[in-house]
């Protein structure tokens, strides 16, 4: 398979569209946790019972379409090879927990990969809906439609007092986790982000580095999401999140301007060095890749690097992860082989821009 075709298949179709503020907000996501009333939660349910859940989903939703979400496909974890599961994880279509820790786990994915519904994860259902850029309201609206669609056939566990009942007390109520993935290179370079995080936490929102351990953000990509799910409506939660994201966008833009004014040559130097590393290295680790990609993306956004597609960060962050590299190589790769392969994939990808 050629690289172009591989990329075509590897990148979720929805990611190819450009959303609002997509120079800073990479994607918006809504996740809803739902459970059946009649069957114990996956944590304690017998495998047979969980199989019934899968069977019902298969009967009612497999190969179905709903509005613009076409051809849902039910994929059972037991039918996948380890590498295939890792790829779904790297595309954020399933969680590592679903891939490795569940009995009778499955996922229902729309053909645009915009909606993925995990079945028998920690909860019976985890509906996830993605939109490119900053579109939380729209994402919520669409996620509610999917939820209503499921609800036509399924009785969800719901209580007037506590709302949607979930396995973990941290999800009860709306069962909603709304999040945005943000690229914040200028706030990270100037370390302003470290001072902003505690203030954001105080509002009941969580900031975490997307690919790093704990709060370390590899590639300066941060995920901002709500913590509270009980006692606040979905709209209120989204409003809070939106106002914080607006503030972060504003601060990031301001920090970029300041960097340009005060240290343009240093910034330019950093960006082009990173570009050079991506273009010419023969060995590159994932962490360095992410850092260089972040710099190059900033260069593109600031107009310093021209004629490179704007979605390069989104695209290569996905493609250079271990499972994708191995799928492209069509064999298992040791860590050093991966670094060689990663460097070559990036070089080839950048050549496509020439």
């Amino acid at each position: 398979m050629g690289l172009e075709q591989f990329i075509q298949e590897a990148i979720s179709p929805w990611m190819k569209d450009e959303g609002p503020d997509s120079d800073i907000v990479m994607s918006s996501r809504i996740r809803l946790a739902r459970n059946l009333e009649k069957i114990p939660f996956p944590l304690v349910a017998e495998e047979e019972k969980l199989k019934e859940v899968i069977d019902e989903v298969e009967k009612d939703f497999n190969e179905q379409s709903f509005e613009q979400y076409q051809d849902f496909e039910l994929i059972k974890m037991e039918s996948l090879k380890a590498l295939e599961k890792r790829i779904l994880v790297e595309k954020h279509l399933i969680s590592p927990h679903l891939a490795d820790k569940t009995k009778q786990g499955a996922v229902l994915i729309s053909n645009s990969e915009q909606v993925s519904i995990m079945v028998n994860e920690e909860d019976h259902f985890r509906v996830q809906l993605y939109l490119p850029g900053f579109q939380l309201e729209k994402a919520l609206e669409e996620a509610f439609k999917i939820d209503d669609w499921l609800e036509e056939k399924i009785d969800f566990a719901f209580d007037e007092e506590q709302g949607y009942l979930t396995t973990c007390p941290t999800n009860v109520g709306t069962g909603m986790r709304a999040s945005v993935m943000m690229h914040l290179p200028a706030l990270a370079i100037t370390r302003k982000i470290n001072r902003m995080i505690p203030a954001i936490n105080q509002l009941g929102l969580v900031v975490r580095g997307l690919y790093g351990e704990g709060s370390e953000a590899i590639g300066n990509i941060f995920q901002i999401s709500n913590q509270v799910t009980l006692g606040r409506s979905e709209d209120d939660i989204i409003d809070d999140l939106k106002s914080v994201v607006h503030k972060l966008i504003e601060q990031e833009r301001y920090a970029r301007e300041l960097l340009l004014q005060e240290s343009e040559i240093e910034l330019e130097n950093r960006i082009f060095r990173s570009y050079g590393v991506l273009r010419y290295s023969r060995l590159i680790e994932s962490k360095e890749t992410a850092q260089c990609l972040s710099d190059v993306q900033l260069g593109i956004d600031l107009g310093m690097i021209k004629d490179i597609s704007k979605s390069i960060l989104n695209e290569l962050m996905v493609l250079t992860q271990p499972a994708f590299l191995q799928q492209y190589a069509k064999k298992t790769l040791h860590p050093q082989e991966r670094d060689v392969f990663r460097a070559s994939l990036i070089r080839e990808r950048l050549k496509l821009e020439d």
Partner: protein, 180 residues
């Protein structure tokens, strides 16, 4: 009062147990309570301090007997549908099924308050079906069963809570009816 098991120590734990529908009062000392299995050993009794420990407040710690009794009562709670005990719940920090929420309801608000910035009551999306007349009737029937069970077991506090729920549903339903 003397401990009815050893007849030596002062009975510091007093509680009622229902055996074959008969209510029996039990007065024991702490030592016997543990030995005879009225309460679990210290370690287990305070396993609340494990994983979710931060979530559980021992505000009654200054009244050790009261605390031990509360712990004892809580630990007897077991969800009939999935078999999860309150102790399991505090250890793993997860519910076993939808019914666990009802079974442990008396002890959940402090946990919810901690996790959800002081909130205990849902605000937001409601399943469409929940507002349908059929669903409402089913729900009220279920609650009436529960109310009966609580009254039979003389659990009046719980019974009152269930009765309020029924009233709330019937009231909201009637209001909808008037609008038609």
């Amino acid at each position: 009062m003397e401990c009815q098991e050893c007849n030596e120590n002062v009975a510091t734990l007093h509680f009622a147990k229902v055996i074959n529908g008969e209510k029996t009062e039990i007065h024991v000392c702490e030592k016997c309570a543990k030995e005879k299995g009225y309460v679990n050993n210290e370690e287990e009794a305070y396993s609340l301090h494990d994983l979710l420990s931060g979530l559980f407040n021992f505000d009654s710690a200054s009244y050790p007997n009261q605390a031990a009794m509360d712990t004892y009562r809580k630990e007897q709670l077991k969800c009939e549908k999935c078999g999860m005990t309150y102790q399991d719940f505090t250890r793993i920090g997860k519910f076993g099924c939808a019914s666990c929420y009802d079974t442990f309801s008396k002890h959940l608000n402090p946990i919810f308050r901690r996790v959800h910035s002081g909130n205990t009551k849902h605000d937001g999306k409601v399943p469409k079906r929940t507002s349908s007349a059929l669903y409402q009737k089913k729900k009220v029937d279920q609650l009436k069963e529960k109310l009966k069970a609580h009254i039979e077991k003389e659990e009046f506090e719980e019974a009152a809570m269930v009765r309020d729920k029924i009233k709330a549903i019937e009231k909201s339903h009637n209001q909808e009816g008037e609008g038609e």
